[in-house]
Amino acid sequence: MNASLAQTETSGSLRSNTMPRMRIFRAYALEAKYESLRMLRAPAFAGPFLLLPVSLYLLFAVLLFGDQMGKDAQGALFTFTGFSILGVMGPGMFGFGITVAMEREQGLLKLKRVWPMPAAASLIAKMMMAMLFVAIVMATMVAAAPFAHLRLSAGQLLNVSLVNVVGALPFCALGFLVGALSSGKAAPAFVNLLYLPMIYLSGILFPLPKSMYWAALVSPAYHLDQLGLASMGVPSIGSPAVHVLVLMGVTLGFAMLALHRIRHVG
């Protein structure tokens, strides 16, 4: 093995320490690839978050209430979008929350600060991973939809899928903040404390009593659900622009809080 091991004057002129743009792009791409690969290889993560939404959708919309779905087109639509949002929430909240907490606790985050990793590579990789998982979830939901008497055009399905894939980002930011605040062992419990109430209180699966509407309004799941409906051109509540603003606010606000915490506390 004759490769020179060190950057030294003795092995020729000192090598440039500037990174060509293509190498920086490659570093981002590899980080995203390996982050997705590691989560796909983690059965405790990939199994539940890829299979649970479509399994529950098939259970409720086909096996238990299939006949009613055939008679109630709006019910079929809401069931589809509701379980889709369930599939959007998990990868971001758990993927970010638990991995960031573990990386902090086990010293990998420290190592990443020492390595010359491009500044945002790790965050972007985790976001790409969450969006990839949501894309897979949406593909399984779209494949299951005809069995649940859902009558939507290809364009409508594509629109709601795209909205939901990008809609993973606010949940990534929520998970990121939990990961920045909690230990590796506590992170799953803290994420569940947000995840489970949000499923019920956002009204995505069950209608809420009027007295609880306020809870839906503060939940990013509700806003993403309504935005998905609007993207398909079907009736929705509220202005799509407001939903977008709320989701962007949640994403930027929680991400900035998490970054602040990590920079100052580690």
Binding site: S4, N17, V114
Partner: protein, 306 residues
Amino acid sequence: MRVGGKLVLVMNNSCLAELSGVTKRFGNTVALDHLDLDVERGELLAVLGPNGAGKTTAISLLLGLQRPDSGSVRLLGQQPGSMEPRRQVGVMMQEAALAPELRVREQIDLVASYYPDPLKPSEAMEITGTAPLQRRLYGKLSAGQKRQVQFALAIVGRPRLLFLDEPTVGLDLQSREIVWATLRRLVGEGCSIVLTTHYLEEAEALADRVAVLARGRMIATGTVSEMRALVVRKRIACRTRLNTADVSGWPDVQTVTRDQQGMHITASNTENVVRLLLAADENLQDLEVQRAGLAEAFTELTQENA
């Protein structure tokens, strides 16, 4: 500019990393107390010290993971933590856990992608003896194999300056030999290495210079020979009919013990003691005189400063 009592005009061209008059506190605990430490080009510097001496804090400051309360820190002529010096530094930490779901080759491929002109992953694996592990998941490796992979990650970027924290803990003899040979090769090519280790024979075998820290202060620095010379005592072993009580009363004798191998004496002036031994016992056998090793020097220095 005067920092911590030390005049710093321009960073010496041969100095790759420098702590100047650095103080760092954690609450009421002073981790580093006006510490001066520099790493010269092409040297292997072993930083030794008992637990809590400030070794890890010193390395963390040089790597930009922490900031000093006072004093200055320079890494490759720049502020530690900025991207330019990080591209010239390799690091192997003790506690970092890598992603268990990635294969060894994937880990090395990923870290290599951060550097401007890295080794090929296959070269890094060949050099570090990790090629047979390349398809294995990191989480399935033994503790020693994980250290080997971490060493491969430390060198894959072709560093000018390498920080190694206890690199051979948990390694078998063959793997340790590979690490030592690679470190010697790196130093031969002009790479500077900062090594913290509890294995004094490792420092003795590899280091060009040793820095001993205790309670956040530098208590001694120099070559291994210079460090040994700080400890004036030497050891004498022999078979003799003399009894220990008599010998322990002689001038220059510090301790005397006897076991099945014979009598063991530590003395500050061995030449005088040997003359007395030969005069007192004409049948004296198996006489050996040994210099103190780095271990004795380290023990004596740190005890003095405890």
